[in-house]
């Protein structure tokens, strides 16, 4: 098997401690949570951190709870917890949709939402989910906390708004009436990253779409927020024809690269199909 290069290791006992260590040691120090992105990269020598800070003892970050009119998810909430959360199932079923097709059940026991978002793999399903839901993330640094909306979170391939001596601690999603959401993903085989995936969130009031969130995974250098398609939907009555149109716009606005999963034209086509299907299911849930 391939093995990691020599590195140092410590266990964090507090978030402030993590930030202090990051500030002190610099960018060759990485946080490890679930480890299922970082450790495979270390084994393949694609990442060679000199030092690791293990945050798995920070149990205070493992929550999924409602606070006022928000659902708040701690960075250390595991995929399996997101999959099984009744709170999320009630308000944001898009999470369960995505979690069922993220990796496999064993990986889901360890991987975390914080790790997934910060890894920012262009194919990451949770990034699309949180973008579609118009979530915000809480980032803590030496100077305190700041709240960053998802549409400012992705800044480049594998790059996020989390700075060198900062840590993502929480995800916040507003609960608004009339919500429905769904995730549609096509993978070549169970456990694979997506060929393409769409997260769709829709808010319907009085028979009209008052807001929409659509995010595309795996068809660009990072998660794509389909703002043009969202604009199309706002103020209209849901219909299959409308969803097809939205899918076509998403298809145009996606930026897929040709690779082993497929050529550009197929991926664009898939974006259209998956977007339409996600909107259909999100709408059905909103109208329930």
């Amino acid at each position: 098997m391939q093995t990691p290069a020599p590195c140092g290791y410590e266990r964090a006992s507090s978030v402030d401690g993590v930030i202090a260590t990051l500030a002190e040691r610099g960018p060759s120090t990485r946080i490890v949570a679930g480890g299922h992105s970082l450790i495979p990269m270390m084994k393949l020598r694609l990442a060679t951190p000199e030092h690791l800070i293990d945050i798995n003892d920070l149990h205070e970050l493992s929550y999924i709870r409602q606070e006022g009119e928000e659902v708040r998810i701690g960075a250390l909430a595991r995929h399996v917890d997101l999959l099984r959360s009744e709170l999320l199932a009630e308000h944001f079923p898009v999470f369960a949709d995505a979690e069922e097709v993220i990796a496999d059940p064993v990986v889901r026991n360890r991987g975390t939402i914080g790790g997934s978002l910060c890894q920012a793999d262009p194919g990451e399903d949770l990034s699309a989910v949180c973008s579609a839901l118009k979530a915000s993330v809480v980032i803590r640094g030496a100077g305190g906390e700041r709240v960053v909306p998802m549409h400012e979170f992705h800044v480049g391939p594998y790059m996020t708004a989390v700075g060198d001596a900062e840590m993502l601690t929480e995800v916040r999603i507003a609960i608004r009436p009339g919500a429905g959401s769904a995730h549609e993903k096509l993978e070549r085989r169970a456990g694979d990253f997506a060929i393409a995936a769409t997260s769709a969130a829709i808010w319907i009031n009085g028979g009209t779409i008052t807001d929409a969130g659509i995010a595309l995974a795996a068809v660009g250098p990072f998660t794509i927020e389909a703002t043009r398609a969202e604009e199309l939907l706002r103020g209209k009555a849901p219909s299959d024809e409308l969803f097809t149109q939205a899918g076509a716009i998403c298809s145009e606005d996606s930026m897929p690269a040709a690779d082993g999963r497929g050529p550009v034209d197929y991926k664009r086509h898939l974006v259209g199909v998956l977007t339409k299907r996600a909107l259909r299911r999100a709408t059905a849930r909103a109208l329930q």
Partner: protein, 794 residues
């Protein structure tokens, strides 16, 4: 539904002989007490790691190992120069070519071995690899086998004096070209296709590796190595290392899957041996998964152009032209007289009037190999070709694909049947087996369902494949590998207690030999299988033989064990006659006992006879004592298992995702020793077929970089992609095999890919005009076919 399924069996059921016996070898595996290569720790053992080329074709200008040598835990770093002094820089392959152990002048494929680091632990060995500096000068690359013989193609094997092109072996032909041309001229219908069987990989779950332990004081070389042909390897190492064979001992212990991947001799093995000789300590080399996928023996990579014809509604002729991509070195494993393996069995299960086959083998800048992955020596390629062509012909003729097959099958009364390409099939009831498959599948009902779904815009496909393959190589007159004839031996020794040890040449990698061969002895002698120890995998303690691949264990070693057991039984008869004070001809046998024909109460149990054999009491003339026998079995022919497979797929009309909904497999492998193990072999091979048909691919970019060097990119089916297999059986014994058994291990991989691809095309032909698609049928590739733009994957 007449299916043979694994019904829960009471734990007290233990047949003495053939039957559903639970496996003896399970006891250690379910406890985690197997002994695989990485489980073996020897005192003072060092660890090796291989530095591999990042280029597909490049000159090596210099190699600087000084920084690696400075690593505190590195003991040695070997390059081609070091191996040259030992005469080990190049090694012979199983197909009479040569292969670089470590690249000296240049590298010829992405991932080729360049240097070997030996360190005190495996982490340090890997840490040292990036410290070796190699200066390369990249050269033009050829990875498209169709272009390998172009006049301006880069010359790959310039190590061979006088070599001016990339032809790997002399062109192979079988059949009769003129007769085929005549038959085609007289045909009513002709169909032509370009069909590729893409490169894929056996990828057993345990990668390849070796522990070499050379004792400088005794000159003995002890090797631990999971390989499918330990005696052949020992002969090769004796030749390569200049040691006498009896100074080399290979122990295979438990092997985590082979599937043909563990047949070749790999450079890493030779490096481990050289390293141990040089360091005077045991050296372990164990590859990682990327090395396994990128450098060890791949499978297939056949580019085929074929025509098939029919007259009066029956298939009459077949022509095939093949370009075979062997990679940078010819390391394929097949009997010497058959450089294209058994590909010319593509004449199939049909009573053809003529066939012609031509195979041109080329070198390319890719990893070496080609014969692997349950292929029965290229029969996977052959059956894929003919079964796709039969479906193409059925489309052309506008007839049901099963009806066309049934009208053209070889009939039972025609066996033994000599085919147009030189095979003599032993026995078969093809139409009967096809009928059983149709019944299990509910074929008529499936066609009705398909029509209803099509009317609603749903795409359902039904695909068929009928295969005949030839296994159990083989008769010594025709079959040798590296000049070693393909016979196998068996030694059987009964102990005073009446328990037995049978030693075999074949080598299990999960096929259940510890159980099934004990069952053969049990069937012949009446000794319970739990009292028969099956010994194999240790060249010091097993008779010479050519190993396990090409489904030869049951046909060859099974034949040997049966015959050796009968020899012991015959000796036992003579002893029993003495014990019972009668003549041997007055005795009759029932399982476990010789008894007097006229007086059945009077008899001798096999345990009593064995005790007598070891006692001081009088023995019959000609027998000295003890009860044992040895046999080398020279099979008179291959055996020809066959089967009828039906696959049902659903294709998502928008995403083009293919789901295998049902798979019906009716195999006829003659007499079944252990139906549970036979069914298990079939399940596993069918899963491989799903993988090959839908997702497995080793591909290269224009620079020759391998794009599928991990299990993230080389996709193998999980439990989610495999349906609940539906199995049936017919039993047509093999007339020339002592047990009537034929072997089955490779049949499911042989027969399933064409059934799946035929199903995909069946789903898409009427609505989208698809009449061919190459594997793997990934969503993207199926979608392209639906748009009218199918392309081969490479």
């Amino acid at each position: 539904m007449a299916t043979v399924e694994n019904l829960p069996s009471p734990t007290h059921e233990r047949p003495v002989g053939f039957g559903r016996l639970k496996r003896k070898e399970d006891a250690r595996f379910i406890r985690g007490k197997g002994t695989y290569l990485d489980d073996i720790r020897l005192p003072g053992m060092l660890h090796g790691a291989i530095l591999r080329s990042p280029y597909a074709h490049a000159k090596i200008l210099s190699i600087d190992t000084s920084r690696a040598l400075e690593h505190p835990n590195v003991v040695a770093v070997m390059t081609a120069k070091d191996l040259e002094t030992l005469g080990l820089a190049w090694m012979p392959t199983i197909s009479y070519d040569t292969q670089a152990v470590l690249a000296g002048d240049k590298v010829r494929f992405h991932g080729q071995e360049v240097a070997f680091v030996i360190a005190t632990d495996e982490y340090s060995a890997r840490d040292a690899l990036p410290l070796i500096e190699v200066d390369y000068e990249p050269l033009p690359v050829v990875v498209n086998a169709r272009k390998a013989l172009d006049p301006d193609a880069p010359l790959i094997r310039d190590d061979k004096p006088g070599k001016t092109d990339n032809l790997a072996t002399p062109t192979w032909e079988a059949g009769d070209e003129q007769a085929a041309d005549r038959v085609f001229a007289e045909a009513d219908v002709i169909a032509t296709r370009d069909i590729m069987y893409p490169r894929c990989h056996p990828a057993p779950m345990e990668t390849c590796g070796m522990i070499a332990d050379f004792n400088p004081d005794t000159g003995q070389l002890n090797i631990y190595n999971g390989n499918q042909a330990p005696h052949v390897h020992r002969t090769v190492y004796a030749h390569v290392a200049g040691l006498a064979e009896h100074m080399i001992r290979i122990q295979c212990n438990d092997i985590g899957g082979g599937f043909g991947n563990k047949v070749p001799v790999y450079p890493g093995y030779v490096c481990a041996i050289a390293g141990s000789i040089v360091a005077g300590k045991p050296v372990k080399w164990l590859e990682d998964r990327s090395e396994n996928l990128m450098s060890t023996g791949f499978a297939r990579d056949y580019i085929m152009h074929s025509s098939i014809c029919a007259k009066d509604g029956r298939i009459t002729g077949l022509k095939v032209d093949v370009i075979a991509d062997h990679g940078a070195f010819d390391s394929t494993a097949q009997p010497t007289k058959f450089p294209a393996g058994f590909f010319h069995i593509c004449c199939g299960s049909y009573d053809l009037q003529a066939a012609h086959v031509k195979v041109t083998a080329v070198y390319t800048n890719k990893a070496p190999g080609g014969v692997a992955y349950r292929c029965s020596f290229r029969i996977t390629e052959a059956v894929y070709l003919v079964e796709r062509m039969v479906d193409a012909l059925a489309l052309e003729m506008g007839v049901d694909p099963i009806a066309l097959r049934r009208s053209s099958f070889i009939k039972p009364e025609q066996f033994p049947y000599e085919t147009t390409t030189g095979w003599t099939y032993d026995s078969g009831q093809y139409d009967k087996t096809m009928g059983v498959a149709m019944e299990i599948a509910g074929y008529e009902e499936l066609r009705r369902e398909q029509a209803e779904k099509r009317a609603r815009g749903e795409l359902m496909g039904i695909g068929v494949s009928f295969f005949t393959e030839g296994v159990g190589a083989g008769p010594r007159a025709h079959m040798d590998i590296l000049g070693l004839s393909m016979n196998d031996g068996a030694d059987l020794r009964l102990h005073p207690s009446g328990k037995a040890v049978v030693s075999l040449s074949c080598q299990t990698q999960g096929q259940g030999h510890e159980t099934t061969f004990a069952q053969i002895v049990a069937e012949e002698l009446g000794i319970p299988p739990e009292d028969v120890e099956v010994r194999h995998g240790d060249t010091d303690r097993s008779p010479y033989g050519l190993g396990t691949y090409g489904s030869r264990s049951t046909p060859v070693s099974g034949g040997a064990v049966s015959i050796v057991s009968r020899k012991v039984r015959d000796k036992a008869r003579l002893i029993a006659a003495t014990m019972l004070e009668t003549r041997p001809e007055d005795l009759a046998w029932e399982k476990g006992r010789w008894y007097v024909k006229g007086d059945p109460e009077k008899g001798a149990l096999i345990e009593e006879i064995t005790q007598r054999a070891y006692s001081g009491e009088a023995m019959p003339e000609g027998l000295e004592g003890g009860l044992d026998a040895q046999v080398i079995y020279d099979p008179p022919n291959l055996t020809y298992p066959y089967g009828a497979y039906i696959c049902v797929v659903d294709v998502d009309p928008e995403t083009a995702f293919v789901k295998v909904r049902r798979f019906i497999a009716v195999d006829d492998c003659g007499v079944r020793i252990n139906p549970m193990i036979v069914d298990g072999q079939i399940h596993g091979g069918l899963a491989e077929g799903v993988g090959i048909a839908l997702m497995e691919l080793i591909s290269f970019d224009e620079e020759g970089n391998c794009m599928n060097g991990s299990f993230m990119d080389y996709l193998i089916p999980t439990s989610m992609e495999c349906p609940d297999w539906e199995l049936g059986e017919t039993v047509t014994p093999c007339p020339h095999h002592p047990l009537g058994a034929k072997g089955v291990g490779e049949s499911p991989n042989v027969g399933s890919p064409p059934a799946i691809v035929n199903a995909v095309i069946d789903a898409l032909h009427q609505t989208h005009g698809v009449d061919h698609i190459d594997m793997p049928c990934t969503p993207a590739r199926v979608w392209a076919a639906m748009q009218g733009r199918p392309e081969p994957p490479q």
